[in-house]
Symmetry: D3
């Protein structure tokens, strides 16, 4: 299966049936991103989304030092942050707007991936790392993780997703504003306390093992049930309860016709592990 994936800047492996592991693979530069990387990220998650051999994805950073240090500012400074175009401000604005929209879409590809994505973070996780992990479904981290919504420190408001998703990912709006307005670094324990991550593990190795364990657990369940659950939760975060219920009813009007339900029920009664058709 892995042979179908041959990205340049990521490692894609299949450590277990139906489980994909995507690693940001630029450890020598703290896994910092330049444009070709986020375009590739979009393609990888677009492919995973519809790959019937994939039911859950773990996303982590290669090497021992960082999930990702965020934007490769050196590379970016030649483009986005470099010498400003000469055109008038309105035309510059149009170019920036298109560029931001394209960049945002790359990160949103993780959210739109129909299969659950588990972010497994360690070490440095700054700037774009928050934009990126905020678009995943489940977030784990190692005890050494250092987080920062770094953007204000380089003179800009985070625009690739953090400011849109963080207030809905975490309960304390005061905390969200504090870390976004100050760019202060916070650690794994604090991330757990405010609910940004669900669990903290001793080190990267343990965390990866646990993340893969959760991925395997999810992959063992009906993909109809799992993919529906992801989609319905994503819908709910943005809609009223009544619209949530109505959309859910329409969704399940097809999903409840699956054989997976009787399959799961019978396996339960017979105390055996069910197997489910691909999706």
């Amino acid at each position: 299966m892995a042979s179908n994936y041959s990205p340049k800047h990521f490692l894609v492996t299949f450590p277990a049936e139906y489980v994909a592991h995507v690693e940001i693979n630029r450890a020598d530069k703290l896994n910092s991103f330049f444009e070709a990387m986020w375009l590739e990220l979009r393609d990888i998650f677009g492919q995973l989304s519809h790959d019937p051999n994939v039911r859950a994805v773990v996303l982590s950073g290669a090497g021992s030092r960082a999930f990702t240090a965020g934007l490769d500012v050196k590379a970016a400074s030649k483009g986005l942050l470099g010498p400003k175009p000469d055109g008038d401000a309105a035309r510059n604005a149009a170019l920036f707007r298109r560029h931001i929209a394209s960049f945002q879409d790359c990160i949103t590809a993780v959210e739109k991936c129909e299969k659950p994505v588990i972010a497994a973070m360690h070490g440095i996780n700054f700037g774009l790392g928050i934009d990126l992990s905020a678009a995943t479904d489940i977030r784990y981290c190692a005890a050494d993780t250092k987080f920062s919504v770094k953007e204000v420190d380089i003179g800009l408001a985070a625009d690739i997703g953090t400011l849109s998703r963080l207030p809905k990912a975490v309960g304390s709006y005061s905390w969200v504003k504090e870390v976004c307005l100050t760019a202060r670094v916070f650690g794994a324990q604090e991330a757990k306390e405010v609910g940004y991550v669900s669990a903290v593990f001793d080190n990267k190795e343990v965390m990866i093992e646990k993340a893969l364990g959760t991925a395997k657990l999810i992959a063992s369940k009906s993909p109809v049930a799992v993919q529906g659950t992801k989609e319905l939760l994503n819908w709910s975060i943005d809609h009223s309860v009544q619209d949530g219920l109505r959309y859910t009813g329409v969704w399940n009007s097809a999903a409840l016709q699956t054989d997976d339900i009787s399959n799961a029920l019978l396996s339960g009664l017979e105390k055996r592990t069910p197997t489910f058709e691909k999706l």
Copy 2:
């Protein structure tokens, strides 16, 4: 008062003035639900909603073992989950959609009940138990409570309210997705930490006593103030701050004309307990 309520599958008692206690009364089957039960639940909460003798409601499960084990899968498997209808998929979908909508409405009756509802949970609380408690206002549990968003384990996405309400009931979206996608069991302490419940008590007896205490406290206050507070909070969770403020202003344009305000203020000055007209 209790004589006005004679449900088959629930116990409705009035342990204190203005306080109703609804117990799911099928302890021998772990308080699991079949269709007649949720239809009856709807009727009970519809009646409580407009009953001037009721100002607060406690909802708990009879017996020592469970708040509710959720859907009675055996009963359901004959209906919803049983042999699929022969018609084409679109017609099946229409039937499912109608059924889900009707089922959802029964649970939503708890949310729509104009009087605050306190869920007092213990023991097993799986599947429908989460859908149900997510529609209450205040959630308490005993230390022995075991929760699970169980639906993915039987091949379906929870469709009776959990996926629409849980992301708004709890701050950590990562945690919400984790428990919904894995169906893993979590305990009382974890439920408290993520904010699904407001308090954990040593055992069912203590919890019921405390839940009734909170209900009595609420029942001692102006029902105009209390019922307005519930409605306005329910509106706010689904609307923008500006729409919240505007709706609130219209609501209170009538509510502020109540005698309860001068009544409450005077009682405060005179250090006596106010009594309020029924509502």
Copy 3:
């Protein structure tokens, strides 16, 4: 700078460059509010919002006993809560509606202030104190702070912002409903655990020092970045993720053209503190 601000009921000082400190200055009455005060509050924050010498604001209560005890009920009882007008209920409603809208706008002025506002609370913080602090960006408190959503105790549903903002400020909807429906007092530690405040400090002095420290930190950063971050977070709390991303892209299409970015980047490389043009 302070000379431009000469309110009657508040103290406005400038303890550091670009940092304003607004104190509710009616300590002898526990900083309780009457109408002239909230009208003045609106004017102060309207002025701070566009004052280029201000980049961050700390809001606290004078004296040792209270952030604010809320509405001055005695003063209010002559107006809002006093003898009801004689006109018919619909006309009374119109008067109340206009009054509430005007009052809400005064508190919303804090939310709309383009510069981040840090609430630094101590002692008694009841009723209007919650409405007010819920409209700030970052909330700190001293260990002695006693909070209460007091309104139900005087027969009304809180209508100046608490019920619209609290469900979005804090993750646990059960907790929000409990404190709003019971008016029970909760302390600093509980406020921290549910995320209403980001930090608790030993006493008022330490807290004010820390709040000013955070304000100075924010004031040291690009005001383009900071003010954009506040605005985008405020937008996000009320809109879908997709609408958040789209609005963010448009916002940053102008903001990214600032010199602050190269200024910040260069200062970083040269390890010196950047200075930013006023805004």
Copy 4:
């Protein structure tokens, strides 16, 4: 089939296969409504909604003089508009709110009926007649129809649906406000010009014939297609285009699995009339 429907205040007939005709049957009182009538209306449309023998509904008024003169003010004046309750204004408000909500639900039953409803109007059509016809799908009228949003003339804002639905039913917001604020009578031709009705016919007889013709035409088509079309249009009027497309995709994911499509396509090729399974 008609035998299953035996309302007191309406006539329900089945003039053609799959076509129901509901007539408001109180011609001697200009088909004006009292409470038992709107409760019965709700039940009729609830039943029609799920009746597999029904695919389209025509709604008209018995007799030669009126679709409906609206609320029977004489009857209403004993209840809704009669002597005001003695309780305080807030408690009165709660009673009114519940009553309005219940009344609105009865009219909304027409909108929620899964089968398209064609209003065929003639003669007097005042007040509640607009609330009611605004909840139907297609509106026809006879040349003699006189419409009026009459409510302001009796001192109230229309609250059973007109003010919520009319701005979305008709393109000219200026016209909507004019007729709602002045209660002026407008005729069939004007109703056609602004788009409130789709067609005007010479007299009641011709109109009924045409309305039944349209109903028969709709009834001859796939009920999967027709009912989906109604639901999706109702969703779209209240949601963004993107939410419309997303909901539509989920809806059709089940609906496209129907045999009706190949049935319709084959019948088209073979130039014969298709028959579709009931729904």
Copy 5:
């Protein structure tokens, strides 16, 4: 009454009881606007909104040539459109944003005025004239009126309300886009056909007479009913039908307690003209 209104740039008269007539009073410059004028407009409509002696307002332009030629470009070119500030583009953007918001608020004051506003237009009506009339409730025009959404001709997208309100004021989205994208002039008849105005009159004199007639008609009705109708229609244009019904129910829970209803009903029975208390 008129003595309470003494604006510089407008004429405010009271041609009939409860009817105010506001005239843009700069005929020698085709009633074109500069900043002091829109600030004054805001104050006038703010005052009318709460003036119990006012129940309906007619807004027209003085002189024979124009309702308004829009922005006084000469005046504006010194400010808004004049030499651009030297600051960086992000700081300029902040200044523009504040200026636009303040300008928009002035026009929105017409929409927010609690009393219905009838625009009576003649002659030239360009640019800001569309922004302004789009914020009124009922639009009439004389046969000689020439309309143009002029902004694209001076290099900008209309930002004071036209682009936000026009798509909701008129049914044909194709037509809206055509006139906004081309700035082509359209006449009274076309404005009537697409529904932007409700009526066209032969000349200004007839139109003013008719507009005052409509204002008098509205002013003769219950102000509780009329003001509620305006507010509920404004709410509906921006919300779903369900939210419309819910808000309406809350609104009328107070409004139905008015004496105006029995007053109106009795007057109707007794065939006399009711008089209503001020509001």
Copy 6:
């Protein structure tokens, strides 16, 4: 310029500076669509969207007989409508959902194209032709055009955009439902009366000439103003007036910094035609 566009199924020409003309080029099959065509359509409009040499686009159908007959049912019946997959209904639903979403995105590419698109329609315009033209900005047609929302006739609810966009494109909701529920054919005059098209021309030649004229007119104006106007109108149709105003203010905070404004103003004073920088 045309050399940069070499689609297989469309003709792309540049009949005037900054004006592109896209023709559906399958006249022998009545310009009916198969999958490769809508994928190509997406690519063309994606390219036009950012092409600085394009400021307005005309979209028409080649040949004398049809704008488009819609979906090529023969081709489609092998795919979408052909033999149903064997998998269970839930898995089929997932495939349909993905396919619909991809198809919708192709049509939405026309709406998202930053340059205004004028649909110039003639002859047969069925099914997909409505989905497609509903996504354009301005709609013209020749007198011989025959429209039909054809989908219910082949057993399905239109799912590529018609049901989401038509209720917002046309004022009469009754008419929208009638044509969508009956699939009846309507002509050019009716399309004009309800506002679906802005103008009807005698024949295809005249219409194309007029459409190109409008395109040239738009292309002669500031592209900053024109593209902003399109975007802001598209935003407004889906958002509240307040959100429209706020988004507009942010958009124009950059756009007002353009040189196009002084350029346009000066050209106006000097009575010469302005030229604007590319965008």
